[in-house]
């Protein structure tokens, strides 16, 4: 029972990440009709926003390290700590939350630049060509990151205060074996917040209404005098922001490397397809659903029943969904169905 509860929690935070990536991907696909293979790269760029913020905050002075006598070694003391002492350390400690604030404008700009510079020239080309050019872009982006940050993962810790784990079992009056890392709980709540914010934005603002309308009938919106292209440029930026903050927040859970975008890309497409291409609600639901499924498939009891199921469960679900119900669980009829 406790084990199941833990797996649910585990599935939820994983699902939160999937849902956020898939949400951004769906926004872009639903509005622009572009199959963006570079979306994973946006997630990765968000994570590297956090890395950059951390490395900017820890720009250091080199001081001769006297403890090493064999040769001249230097240790690095961040200027922030030299100038502000304790306060400086606290600021460095909060690199990830700070990076969220930084990531929003940065990712928006990156998204807008990407749409203006490349994506918009591919609206009228085939899906295959969109896949190809964004696949190429993803390679280029990840190689640029590799050239600048190296190939190895770079740890970006969560603030000290939330680096431990929460004793959920005790709170709920259950067994004390149910502990869960704070940051993962925060990530789950954060993903819900972002999802809620995106939906509120779409439901409650005029701009959001135009976007919703454009996703359903792009032509009519244009015929009503609205420059849908221009609005959608902003939507692309929004999708980039959602992917970016998802990536930045993910760094304490998984030290980012240049390849993480590709790793998440396949997954996020699977999530989108399972949810239904173009369905925002579907993306979110499928994200959580697949997160939970994957978490449960990894339980030792299940694995001993069906060996290897944890390795393929997500893809298996995707295959079945595409074959049985190509529009996905929540997709509308006709969207990308042949």
């Amino acid at each position: 029972m406790d084990a199941i509860f833990l797996q649910v929690l585990n599935g939820l935070d994983k699902g939160g990440a999937y849902a956020l990536i898939a949400l951004g991907l769906t926004l872009v696909f639903g509005t622009l009709g572009v199959v963006n293979f570079a979306h994973g790269a946006l997630f990765m760029l968000g994570a590297f926003c956090a890395v950059s913020v951390q490395s900017i905050l820890t720009i250091s002075q080199k001081v001769r390290d006297e403890s090493i006598t064999f040769f001249e070694a230097y240790k690095e003391i961040p200027y922030l700590e030299i100038w502000w002492g304790e306060t400086g350390s606290i600021i460095i400690d909060y690199a990830v939350p700070i990076s969220i604030v930084v990531a929003i404008p940065v990712m928006l700009l990156i998204g807008l630049a990407m749409e203006r510079g490349l994506i918009r020239h591919f609206y009228k080309r085939t899906h295959a060509e969109q896949i190809l050019v964004t696949f190429g872009l993803a390679i280029v982006v990840q190689e640029i990151i590799k050239a600048n940050f190296g190939a190895n993962p770079i740890p970006v810790p969560a603030p000290d205060i939330v680096s431990g784990s929460a004793n959920i079992g005790t709170w709920l009056g259950m067994s004390d074996t149910i502990v869960y890392p704070w940051w993962r709980l925060i990530y789950f709540v954060f993903s819900l917040t972002v999802i809620a914010a995106v939906f509120a934005f779409l439901q409650l603002t005029t701009f959001g209404m135009v976007v919703r309308a454009g996703m359903r009938n792009r032509e009519m919106v244009g015929l009503l005098g609205i420059d849908i292209q221009r609005k959608f440029t902003i939507v692309f930026g929004l999708g980039a922001v959602v992917a970016g903050v998802a990536g930045a927040m993910y760094t304490p859970m998984l030290p980012p490397d240049y390849h993480m975008g590709m790793d998440f890309l396949v997954l996020s497409f699977v999530v989108v397809v399972v949810g239904g291409m173009g369905s925002l609600g579907g993306a979110v639901a499928a994200g959580f659903l697949l997160g939970l499924l994957q978490s449960f498939a990894a339980m030792n009891e299940i694995k001993s029943l069906i060996p290897g199921i944890d390795q393929i469960i997500i893809y298996l679900v995707a295959v079945i969904i595409i074959l049985v119900r190509p529009r996905g669980l929540f997709g509308r009829e006709g969207v990308m169905e042949d």
Binding site: L118, T126, I131, L132, Q311, I312
Partner: protein, 388 residues
């Protein structure tokens, strides 16, 4: 550009191709690509890409899982070496059979959908195969370590004839001819030529024309009551068998099979090759495969030192500046260059390098007739609308 086909023209194409392939060790010497392993890779990945092109180039179905068949081919071949004989013919036969069988199954399922759903289905199958090969199928695949030959392998057929003279692991052979080094390359080259010839025949056949018809106008074909699926499946299986053959040759020239051959990024690589060289053209995929393998093996090994050496003709100060500017793009940064070149080709040259060459050639040649603007968009190889 290949519109007016005639038997003589095809004959010329074949002869030029044969000559180019067989003399590759000579004309590739100046660029340092004349050693057996790389030559073998050129030929093998050329076969892989030619096969992929029969599916993607002719029908427009973008598979992101073709590396699975490459992997299956390799595993089948290595198992044949382990269990039966080091002679490569049974290995190749088994590899093509197994990859054919799997491509019938995967193709039958995946071709129930088209467009991006087809791509994602193949992608999902590729990832499943890769993950399983890495985990529960370890008894068959030897997981991450890769399937290798051992002295203790049974090799039943071999051992029936020659009684165990334990002189190390025997090498792969074709009735005694060792399949490493240049003999390995020439064997692969002959197979490549045959594969190219088959591909040429397919392109020219009614079957090939039907496939391009499916690509350019699937809806119209549906209205006429025509069922494209058997044709698509045939193309899928042919390209799967090509991939299996390529996988077998990888094992023939180097008896090892690893799961990473099946990863989706490996499938992505053959997509890159085909697009880079020229989708839907005959020779393009071979060129694309060559370019990428050259990048991967030679371009990637240009270290900082070689770079300085190459730039030694520049004045003192310039040397380090130029080296600083281009160093991210060479050596271990070769992926970056590849990604950029690939993007440029998709954006500006949808016909790939081959169409780039022919465009270049036509600018130097006196023009006979100006093509009609409307017609040019129709006959575009990748079926794109060039526009704003």
């Amino acid at each position: 550009m290949m519109k007016q086909t005639s038997a003589t023209k095809d004959l010329i194409i074949m002869l030029v191709f044969i000559a180019a392939v067989l003399t590759a060790p000579i004309w590739l010497t100046p660029i340092g690509a004349n050693y057996p392993d790389l030559l073998q890779k050129f030929a093998i990945y050329g076969i892989f890409a030619i096969g992929f092109n029969i599916l993607f180039g002719l029908t427009g179905y973008l598979s992101f899982g073709h590396a699975v068949f490459l992997g299956i081919g390799s595993y089948a071949a290595v198992w044949s070496f382990k269990l039966l004989t080091m002679n490569i013919l049974p290995a190749i036969l088994f590899a093509v059979m197994w990859s054919g069988l799997f491509s019938v199954i995967l193709g039958y399922i995946s071709l129930r959908r088209s467009g991006i759903y087809f791509s994602i289905l193949t992608l999902a199958f590729a990832q499943m195969s890769y993950n399983l090969a890495y985990s529960v199928l370890t008894p068959i695949t030897n997981g991450e370590t890769g399937l290798q030959l051992r002295l203790a392998d049974p090799r039943y057929i071999d051992n029936m004839f020659t009684k165990a003279v334990s002189e190390g692991i025997p090498s792969t052979n074709l009735f005694g001819i060792k399949m490493s080094g240049y003999s390995g390359f020439y064997f692969c080259a002959v197979v490549l030529i045959i594969c190219f010839w088959i591909s040429l025949k397919i392109f020219r056949s009614p079957f090939g024309l039907t496939l391009s018809g499916i690509k350019s106008n699937q809806h119209r074909m549906k209205y006429t009551g025509f069922n494209p699926r058997p044709y698509l499946l045939a193309a899928f299986v042919i390209s799967g068998m090509y991939a299996g053959l390529a996988g077998a040759l990888l094992a023939v020239t180097d008896p090892l099979a690893g799961a990473e051959r099946m990863q989706w990024t490996a499938s992505g690589e053959v997509v890159l090759m085909t697009i880079l060289g020229g989708l839907g053209t005959l020779i393009g995929p071979v060129i694309g495969a060559g370019v990428i393998k050259y990048f991967e093996n030679i371009f990637s090994s240009i270290g900082d030192q070689n770079l300085f050496e190459m730039l030694s003709w520049l004045p003192e100060g310039m040397q380090s500046i130029v080296a600083y500017v281009i160093s991210p793009f060479v050596g271990s940064g070769w992926h970056l260059t590849l990604g950029l070149v690939f993007m440029l080709i998709v954006i500006f040259l949808p016909g790939g390098l081959v169409s780039g060459f022919s465009k270049l050639a036509s600018t130097f040649r006196p023009k006979k007739k100006t093509p009609q603007p409307v017609a040019s968009t129709v006959s575009n190889a990748s079926g794109t609308k060039e526009g704003e």
